[in-house]
């Protein structure tokens, strides 16, 4: 049983991403959507924490939300996979539970 965690708020605005990473289990998936996507860019202040988490969970970021905010998917940190809504649906289907950290 694995969980897909979604986080929709920037770690600079909310503690949701921090809380999510503090509870996610090994081989869970974490998907950044909406305002959380900026955390996926390499070199941001949260990048190290994410990279650390990426040792045990699978990290994803929603491409359409990156593009909307003028963020280049090519600048996403290695270890984080850019997906679209189709990929989001697949992740939701593949994991047995979805936990949205708000």
């Amino acid at each position: 049983m694995s969980t897909l965690h979604t986080v929709n708020k920037s770690p600079f605005e909310r503690s949701a991403l921090q809380a999510c990473l503090g509870h996610a289990q090994a081989s869970d998936s974490v998907l950044l959507i909406e305002d959380a996507v900026m955390a996926a860019l390499s070199g941001n202040a949260f990048a190290a924490k994410l990279a650390d988490a990426g040792q045990s969970v699978k990290l994803f970021v929603l491409g359409p939300d990156l593009k909307a905010r003028g963020l280049d998917p090519a600048k996403v940190a290695s270890g984080i996979t850019v997906i679209d809504y189709d990929g989001f649906v697949d992740l939701a289907a593949e994991n047995s539970t979805i936990h949205s950290w708000l």
């Binding site: 929709n8 809504y85 697949d90 939701a92 289907a93 539970t97 949205s100 708000l102």
Partner: protein, 119 residues
């Protein structure tokens, strides 16, 4: 896969309703089923028939209506949350229906996956 979707926020103020809609649409296009979309908390505001957004941007309410129309998606508005926020039978846009919180719990039981979109 049968998906249940919970929408916690109203249209435009938060991206939640848009994200939920895009997820639902992608799921349907992939051949999945949407068991129910439940609108709770400010999410009930997605059901208003009085919304007149500027025409050069998406119409969040109409997006949901089209989904209901094209795919018979069950769009349910919580009666108690609706009453608090002035969303009642008379204010409903076609395609939405008002019911109790039990419909949300039931969706959790009957659907294979439950996805929440909120603030």
């Amino acid at each position: 896969m049968k998906f249940g979707i919970l929408v916690n926020e109203g249209p435009y103020n938060h991206q939640a309703s848009d994200s939920a809609y895009r997820f639902a649409k992608a799921a349907l296009d992939k051949g999945h089923e949407i068991y129910r979309v439940f609108f709770y908390y400010d999410g009930v505001l997605n059901a208003t028939k009085h919304s007149e957004p500027p025409s050069d941007d998406r119409n969040v309410i109409k997006n949901w209506q089209k989904l209901a129309e094209d795919h018979k998606v069950d769009l349910v508005v919580c009666v108690a949350a609706g009453l608090r926020r002035g969303i009642v039978e008379d204010s409903l846009a076609p395609g939405f229906r008002i019911s109790g919180l039990g419909q949300l719990i039931e969706a959790g039981i009957q659907a294979d996956r439950m996805v929440t979109f909120g603030d």
